[in-house]
Amino acid sequence: MKRQSYDGVVLTAPVSVPYVRYSQETAHWWIARALKQTLEVAGLSPRELDGFSVSSFTLFPDTPVGLTQHLGVSPRWLDSIPMGGASGVVALRRAARAVQVGDVDVVACIAGDANRIDSFRQLLSSFSRFAMDASYPYGSGGPNASFALIADAYMAEYGVTREDFGRIAVAQRANALNYPNAMMKSPLTLEQYLSARPISEPFGLFDCVMPCAGAEGFLVMREEEAQKRGLAYARISATIERHNAFPEDPVQLRGGWAMDIDELYGMAGCGPEAIDLLQTYDDYPVISMMQFEDLGFCAKGEGARFVREHDLTITGDFPHNTSGGQLSAGQAGAAGGYLGLVEAIRQVTGQAGGTQVAKARTAMVSGFGMINYDRGLCSSATILTGEGA
């Protein structure tokens, strides 16, 4: 059966709470700030919160249920999306359908995480059962080591070099210098990228994100509701999600997008050439490169050539991760899975400020999350459209 469109449902009120490297504040605090901001943009009071979708790694021992009492809200629709980097797109998929059928009128989608000193180590050691049993005891390199193994196999298979990954990181840093909330504030050269201290070979320092605290959010509502409130909004052309794709692959050289990409473009009624800007999930540049391939911007194994032939900056021919991505903006836990989506909403609604891409009307956002054992399990993507700048 062909999937129904998301006609009549829109995304609006994108907010980013500026990140902090280490913070004493809790996830509850960060989520409250993002929720307050996004509601204020729409002129809603907390009491009026109708639907609430939450993504966070650090709410424990609470779940979003406890959060409702903690924050004094009484939503009639509540969702918890524990999918890390895929959370943003998945939250919007769930919320959009619920709004479309009238189960709920307005959903606030929020991701936020705390980062206290040493909390990252604690998160890593109990991230998943397979991580506890079968990856963390092997050098405790965390995701850096697990993705380094993927990068090693990927480089060997397709003849990719560190310079190729470096191009992605360097372009994102150039973009981040235009994004006031980015944690990284100084330029990065390819030489600096290549000579950085090793973290987990082949990765050096600038292949890795900086864990931090922060929150992101947006609202999902009917189009007429947004118009009534005078809000700029983005439409949803298509979305996909997939979990544990290709379990028979010995090592992850492709993500779940490769399974569903034709359906994404089919639903949107366009091809990759229609995309004005792309926000990939960049926990590591190699994963962004994999997305260029699996999202259809180039053939499998052509990712390196693609980055050599394109300018990935805001003013380039292929604007990518325009707010700097997690590599330069920082990784605020599950909010890392919202970063690109919130930025894409700003872009296609002409609210991106310093990072605004000219004529940005169609954006693609992809998510990737949860390295349970040896590979990221969740993949998601969406195509958004708007009036642009």
Binding site: D118, F120, R121, L124, S125, S126, R129, F130, M132, D133, A134, S135, Y136, P137, Y138, G139, S140, G141, G142, N144, A145, S146, A148, L149, I150, D152, A153, A156, R197, P198, I199, S200, E201, P202, F203, P247, P250, V251, Y373, D374
Partner: protein, 414 residues
């Protein structure tokens, strides 16, 4: 090729001694199947009894057919390294002190992809032999080893963390009179032990072996009576700080059941076999436990020789079996107590040994040389439970199958 491990430099007392830390210890219940296999030196993975899928990491249901009928079975060890990394940054205190650390992905011929430690001689593209070993946390972990033995391969720093190899280490053997002691000294020296202390009780009545052993190079005979608290303490004060491996060979055996025997003999057996072990652990244990990260000659293992009848009594040696069961129980408590230090407690179970106190029993019996070989192998491989000789292996298998059936069979003189 692995670089040959050199003897340690004399320690500089002004430098910080590395304190014991452990690699991540938490595991799911299913993953303890790896620990159980590693403790015995077998390579087992989960097999689905319904569809035959071999899976890893351990699960609670089959990832092919959802059956929950899963069994641990010995599995082919060969595989190919498909990715490798050298980790330079870790938030874990144990690994931070041992960086860089190599790990890799191995595609096993049996099916699954395994994230494992990499021996220094293997890298991407190599075919390897996978091994399961206990790490310092006492948990089973995978390490990819070269398929062919290479010279000094046991010296690889990552592999050495997973074994209790005697090379460059100092060993205390507690009883010179045990028939196993002579061949044990020979095997340990051959494996590279740097010095061997041998305990001797009642040194006023020396045995026939004394002169030959005392004359050996790198061997010192020391007074030690495990039934005498002050004797044990005195020796610990003298050499406790340089005992890296302790092998308790002291034991007292008298035949006879329970009804007809004098409890004086039973008391003597408990004094030496059970309480002697406790005294040794109390005197030497804390010092050894504090030195488990102390470089090339760090403390690694506490080894007990037990009768396999610790598992199920031999009614012809009733009190002796009881003392062995007590010693086994004590060793399990010691494992828990040494856990935080990473000091390994190894139990070597043997059937009747070929000595004067087991003369009425028929063969096969365990020759001292075979016993000593098992002990050294347990150290080199880093095992935790070893069953030495045909009788012990047979009895262990029957005990695993059904302890009650075994009890009846032993009561019938089987």
């Amino acid at each position: 090729m692995t670089e040959k491990l050199l003897p340690p430099q004399k320690k500089n007392p002004q430098l910080r001694q590395m304190v014991p830390t452990l690699p991540p210890q938490m595991r799911s219940r299913a993953a303890l199947g790896l620990t159980s296999a590693a403790a015995r030196g077998v390579f087992s993975l989960q097999h689905c009894e319904a569809c035959g899928t071999v899976q890893y990491p351990p699960r609670d249901a089959c990832c092919t057919c959802l059956s929950v009928d899963l069994a641990w079975r010995e599995t082919a060890r060969d595989g190919t390294v498909i990715a490798e990394t050298r980790i330079h940054a870790s938030p874990d205190p144990y690994y931070r002190e041992r960086l860089p650390w190599r790990s890799g992905l191995v595609r096993l011929a049996a099916g699954p992809t395994v994230l494992c430690h990499l021996h220094g001689d293997v890298g991407r593209g190599d075919t390897i032999r996978m091994d399961l070993k206990l790490d310092k946390a006492g948990q089973g972990v995978m390490i990819a080893l070269p398929q062919e033995r290479s010279p000094d391969m046991e010296d690889d720093p990552q592999l050495r963390e997973l074994t209790a190899h005697p090379k460059h280490r100092r060993v205390l053997i507690t009883d010179i009179r045990s028939p196993a002691t002579g061949p044990l000294i020979e095997a340990l020296l051959k494996a590279g032990a740097s010095h061997i202390f041998v305990g001797e009780s009642e040194s006023w009545r020396r045995g026939s072996d004394h002169a030959a052993i005392a004359a050996l190079e790198r061997v010192s005979v020391m007074p030690l009576d495990v039934s005498d608290p002050s004797s044990v303490k005195k020796l610990a004060a003298e050499i406790g700080g340089k005992t890296d491996i302790l092998i308790n060979t002291a034991r007292h055996v008298r035949p006879g059941g329970v009804l007809g025997s004098d409890t004086v003999f039973a008391r003597e057996e408990f004094e030496i076999n059970a309480l002697g072990l406790m005294r040794l652990a109390q005197a030497f244990g804390p010092g050894m436990a504090s030195r488990t990260a102390d470089g090339v000659n760090s403390a690694v293992a506490f080894v007990n020789l037990l009768s396999v009848h610790a598992l199920s009594a031999d009614p012809q040696y009733g009190a002796f079996s009881a003392s062995q069961a007590a010693a086994l129980s004590i060793s399990q408590t010691l494992r828990a107590e040494f856990r935080a230090s990473g000091l390994r407690v190894i139990n070597v179970f043997a059937g009747p040994t070929d000595d004067e106190w087991h003369q009425p029993l028929p063969p096969p019996k365990v020759a001292p040389k075979v016993l000593s070989k098992s002990i050294v192998e347990a150290l080199c491989e880093g095992l935790e439970d070893v069953y030495c000789g045909d009788v012990a292996k047979d009895l262990e298998e029957r005990w695993r199958r059904d302890p009650k059936v075994l009890e009846r069979e032993l009561a019938g003189g089987a």
